[in-house]
Assembly symmetry: C2
Homo-oligomer: 336 residues x 2
Amino acid sequence: MPRARLADVATRAGVSTATASLVLRDRPGPSASAREAVRLAAETLGYRPDRTASVLASHRSRLVGVLLDVSSTFHAELVDQLDAEATRHGYDLVLSTVTSARGERRAVETLVDFRCEGLALLGPTMPESQLRALARLCPVAAVGRPAGDGFDGVLAADRPGMAAAVDHLVGLGHEAIAYVDGPRGPIATARRRGYREAMRRHGLGAAVDVRAGGDHEASGMGAGQDLLGKPRTRRPSAVVTFNDRCAVGVLNAALRHGVDVPGDLSLVGYDDSPLARLATVDLTSVSQDPAALATATMDALAARLDGAAAGSRSAAGETVVVAPALIVRGSTACPA
Amino acid sequence: MPRARLADVATRAGVSTATASLVLRDRPGPSASAREAVRLAAETLGYRPDRTASVLASHRSRLVGVLLDVSSTFHAELVDQLDAEATRHGYDLVLSTVTSARGERRAVETLVDFRCEGLALLGPTMPESQLRALARLCPVAAVGRPAGDGFDGVLAADRPGMAAAVDHLVGLGHEAIAYVDGPRGPIATARRRGYREAMRRHGLGAAVDVRAGGDHEASGMGAGQDLLGKPRTRRPSAVVTFNDRCAVGVLNAALRHGVDVPGDLSLVGYDDSPLARLATVDLTSVSQDPAALATATMDALAARLDGAAAGSRSAAGETVVVAPALIVRGSTACPA
DNA sequence: GATCTGGTATAAAGCGCTTTAAGAAAGCGT
DNA sequence: ACGCTTTCTTAAAGCGCTTTATACCAGATC
């Protein structure tokens, strides 16, 4: 049996499709008796509105497109929160992931083709010019990037986040605190700066020790080997890393060198990824607060969407900065 | 400026929309000169066809809906492969995830609303009756579940997979091989059985040692504590676990007890998840071969889609079983 | 010259819905 | 009775595309 159409429902309820349409979307107009009849008919026919047709007719999709990397656990958390936020704003989410055979460009095109009314881009790496071009099609919010001309940005505050990590370690009595750096880019720069500033603020400028790293376990492992290969007295008593994956690399190096964490070495990661929460790892880490990021993202989109409706297409982009939070776990303790 | 429509392209090229439509979809008919003119017009106008409208008009979406859990890394791998396979079959993917506020039911409804022509459900937990109902709407392939009435299933062969793990360990010279069980369910049963049978086959029936576990790190940790808390001589020399997360728990227990892996204990996980590949973990594991699962899934869907087109709506479901592969890493070695 | 090709082109009819403008019905004062 | 609201209903016109049926124009055929 073919799917029931609105016309079928209308016929069965003895009204026109116009009335049926109004009833099913809870619009004012139809009388109570008409409502009842339509509802009943829809129910018994198992009617599901055809979104395709309604989008075409109404010029509204109530859809927010999300660009993500499905292999990122951090994105997964964001999506979970975004979904809740989107629902709150009356929107639905449509997901599009970059894969090994599908770049950001194609992934975003898919979303546009679905007539999304707004786009939430999670950690986009495309050049800003492309973001600007997209923003001309529909409202755009980029997570993990500052705003640009015509689109908003939502960021976790990296410098204060890193500073909180250092403060925590200093509070425990550490002084020889090393830092394992991330890959090139604005995020790594901000975090490195956060570390440096915090160290100086505590009068530990002389102890600043920045090691080349990256964003993978291997990079952290390499830096860890360097740091822990030294004689015991010249080792740092604590290490802060660019992110959790990096920290896991350092952790691994520590295991190999027989360095106990947190007994001999305190370790702090960044991201509060599920990785950090593993029992084997149990890593103190800086959380970027996915819930807050998601809320800010949807709020930014909603503002632009409503703004567009009201005709005030503000061109300037706003950057929302979300405060990070330090999550203390088992990888940090007072120095030996 | 509003988006260009097909009519705009047609006008600019000096042809009808019918011709333009044919050209843009590479259909036979239009002459070479018409093709050229349309292509040029489309190019200069930056025309992007409106998928919504074309779906409505053509009754085809060329869309395959994927139900997944965005927080599962295994699903992420599957999606990556599915995307490639779908492209090969001329389909596009649309993703819908279950979240904390959005059950499978709602996630699947979204997909149906998009007029997906087929559904790939990754590890669905809904009752079979619901799967059957879905299958009446469009072709369905369930990954990680046996086929049912009207839908296909794609499974990794759990018993041979587990047997391969045991064979590997026996080949290394292990005899005292314990097993940490998973949660209730058909998958865990199959794996447990695989372990038991393999042990018996090797004449090690007396050494069978099944421990209650689960599918999380904590469960593995508990079982590990039990196993490794015994005097050295009564400990197993190798442990196989229900999955990688469980194995990580055992690994953690080993670290706490000062048991070296793989020196004092060999450990095999299941899933070959990214977790297993972490430098800190480096776990020998049984891979479910996401690429093969994805291929089988899309093939099953494609068969049904073509079948439906040809009118042969075969009701019976087929279960495709994919052979698992043992990935040997650093957590297994000859017994001390 | 009439008829039939086969290759191109297009007018027009939808797809399933929303929306607008206008009509019918009902209430209500004078 | 008559206008004049107010309330409810619906016919009909799209949305942007695909598709079918028809028209057209060579040139080939008889």
